[in-house]
Amino acid sequence: MKSMLLRQIIEGALLLSPTPLAIKDLEQLFSDSERPQRDQILVTIEDIQLDCRDRGYELVEVASGFRFQIREQLAGWMHRLWKEKPKRYSKAMLETLALIAYRQPLTRGDIELVRGVAVSSDMIRTLQEREWIKIVGHRNVPGKPALYATTKQFLNYFNLSDLGQLPKLTVITNIEADGDHSSLGVLESGNIEMIES
């Protein structure tokens, strides 16, 4: 198959598919007789990526494969078109999700232990319905609590190809006696204003 046609087929499929396509999905586009080598597909993908470098869109790899997406720098303009306001997630939801992402697999009880508050069933169910987390097993203790882990869809949504790309956990070093205010910056964004009001 000519490389130009190969490239057009891959471009077309990636723009048509509502979900990311893995190499093996791309292989399925071809009949047995015309199917290109895996390497050829990869080279083609690199070609496409290179050609997009000045475009408003890019070809990226996320957990379940490759997808075309509109560049982050254009978000401001895109929001004028995108009628739905992006959802904001509560701190509780983000903390729960962060715990599952970094400590998986873990139980609801494990999450409650770290957060010091009860985790609502609704929150867990919402995360499950978004397909960001799923039950991957049960801990072998009385009650057999479910063990939760994150999914590929979670990684896709956050533009990650694997868990290793999650930001490193930061332990805030304790504030030095000489009054280093920098670490307080983190707090200020959230709570301080409210308290002093």
Binding site: L94, I172, N174
Partner: protein, 275 residues
């Protein structure tokens, strides 16, 4: 023997004068809410909503004073923490029981710190604050992780899928098949779940031992002496009685309540231990 002295006396004094204007001074009854102090009606509710739980509130109190987590002055932090709780209760805000459990834990640590040390050697190993410090540190790590997660590039907020349609007019979309039985089962399992979750909610309200502990604490704090029997609500049935009993045992174990009986078969009284 002395309680751990705050190393940053100046900081603390500053904090007390400027940053905690509505805390009651003199280290006495903290739940009394000064009449002359105006707090906008919604302010405390907002404060409470701003915190993700007792650990979050504690962390805030510590960080606000530039205090080192590793060297927190438990009695000062306890004082401030209970001041918050007291005010919130005074305003009849519904307070999650987790906050009260934390208050109890702080009180326990505080009392342990007041106990004379048997020997200098064991002091290091048995710092009663160790567990709290560990939890605060761990919580802070994930609080930060959650904030970082919010900053990650996100679909439909920062980036969007680039899609194009197929020019072919008759586009065949394969759609999942559904059977009537799927529908029937879906609704049945939903009904079952919602009836279970209704039960579940009731149980969480009535049966949670942790919550019951908080209820009892609330009760005994106010009246300082109550009869053992008055803490049980027989209308809750067997399960309710058992949970109340377990909660009371737990409170005793944690030395949060005293239970006194002057004679065999005499009336048993329950009293809150000094916080």
């Amino acid at each position: 023997m002395s309680p751990i002295l705050p190393r940053k006396n100046q900081n603390n004094a500053y904090a007390r004068q400027v940053e905690m204007p509505f805390a009651v001074v003199q280290g006495q009854q903290l739940s009394i809410f000064p009449d002359d102090l105006y707090i906008p009606p919604d302010a405390l509710e907002i404060i409470l909503e701003a915190f993700e739980g007792p650990l979050d509130l504690l962390l805030y109190l510590i960080r606000r004073q530039n205090l080192d987590i590793l060297d927190i002055d438990v009695s000062e932090i306890t004082r401030q923490y209970t001041a918050y709780i007291g005010i919130m209760q005074g305003l009849k805000l519904e307070l999650a029981s987790d906050y009260l459990v934390m208050a109890a834990m702080l009180a326990e640590i505080k009392s342990q710190m007041l106990l004379p040390r048997v020997s200098e050697v064991s002091e290091e190993a048995e710092d009663p604050r160790a567990e709290l410090i560990r939890r605060l540190q761990e919580y802070e790590v994930f609080k930060n992780a959650a904030m970082n997660m919010d900053k990650l590039t996100r679909l439909d907020r920062d980036v969007f899928l680039a899609r194009a349609e197929f020019s072919d007019v008759e586009r065949v979309t394969m759609r999942p098949n559904v059977s009537l039985n799927d529908l029937k089962k879906a609704l049945e399992s939903l009904d079952q779940r919602s009836s279970l979750s209704q039960h579940h909610e009731i149980y969480v309200e009535i049966i949670s031992t942790r919550e019951r502990m908080a209820d009892i604490l609330r009760h005994v704090n106010k009246q300082s002496f109550v009869t053992f029997g008055s803490l049980f609500d027989l209308s809750e049935g067997k399960l309710g009685v058992v949970v109340t009993f377990l909660a009371m045992m737990e409170l005793m174990k944690e030395k949060l309540v005293d239970i006194v009986q002057s004679d065999s078969f005499a009336i048993i009284y329950v009293r809150a231990q000094e916080l």
